[in-house]
Amino acid sequence: MKLLLVCNPGGHFSTMMGLKNFWSAYPREWVTYPNFDTQKLSEKELVYWVEMQEARMLGKACMNFFKALVILRTSRPDLLLSTGASLALPFILASKFFGIKTVFIESISRSSGLSLTGKLVYNLVDEFYVQWPECVERYPKAQYRGVVA
C-alpha cells in the first residue's frame, strides 16, 4: 500500500509526524508547502511542494487542485492521508477522480465541532477521524479511535 501524506505546516504537520509509527511502515510521498518546519522534510522524504494555501484561499485551492491532479497521476497512491488543514480539500477532491481511498484526521483543537475543511471533506472521504468523542454525536460518520500523541 502506497501512501500520500498531505498536510499544512505547523500543528497539522506535527500531527502527521505523530503518526510516524503508522506511515513509516509503508512506501510514501508527501504534499505540503515550504515553511520553517516542513523545509527539512525533503532531506529524508520524497516531497511534492505545492502553493502556500492557508484557510479560505480559494484561488490557491484551485491552483493546488490542478497540481493535485498531476501529483496523483504521477504518485498513484493507494491511500491519501491528510491531517488538514486547507490543503486537504483540493487533494481529497482530486482523489475522487482517480478512485483513491482517502482518510482525514481532524485537528485535536476541534473539540466541539469541525473545521471548515473538515465540514467540506466530511462527505467526500472514506474515513473521517476526530480526536474528541463529543464530535461523533454531531457527525455520525466521524470515528473516534483516540488521539495523536
Binding site: M1, P9, G10, G11, S14, T15, G18, L19, N21, F22, S24, A25, Y26, P27, N35, F36, D37, K44, E45, L46, M52, E54, A55, R56, L79, I105, S107, I108, S109, R110, S111, S112, S115, L116, Y129, Q131, Y144, R145, G146, V147, V148, A149
Partner: protein, 172 residues
Amino acid sequence: MIVYTLGTIFFPFERAVSWLQILLEKEIIVEPVLFQHGATSATKLRHPLLTSVASLTRHEMHEAVKQSSLIISHAGQGSTRMLAEMGACFVLVPRLKRYGEHVDDHQLLFARTVEKFGVHYCTELDQLISYVKQRPCPFQGELLNGPSLVEHLIAHYSSLEPQKQISSLKLP
C-alpha cells in the same frame, strides 16, 4: 528568561506584539525575552532585553523552554502539547477571529478545553500581567490522554492489506 512565541502560522498576531511591548516598557517583564514572532512583523519592537527570531528549530525551542521560568504562547495545539509534555510553566494567549489572528476561534475553544486539564490561558492583557507577576505552577500530568489513534491505524490497515505491507522502507 521568558519565551514568547506566536507560532509559525501565516496570520499576523499584532495584539500579542503590542502586549509584549507594554510588558517590557512598563517593566512588568524585567528579564530576557526570547521572542519567536513567526509571520508577524517584529521590527517595530526593540528593547535591550528582547531577542527576536522568526522561528526556532524544535531543538532550539526545547532548549529555550528548559531555561525559561515562563512561556507565553499562542494556543496552537502543537505548541500547547509540547509545553505540557515538557512540564513547562506556561500561559496561552489564543488567537481570535475578530482581530484577524486566525480564521475562526478554535484556539479559544481549544484553550477552554485544555483549561480543564490545568492549562492557563488569557484573553486580556491584565490577566497576562498577573500571570507574569505570579507564575503559574509547572504543568503536571497528561494533557490529552485518550487511546492512541496511531495504534488503531496500524491495526486497521495491517488487517486490510497484510500481504502488501512492507516492514521498513528506505527511500533512495
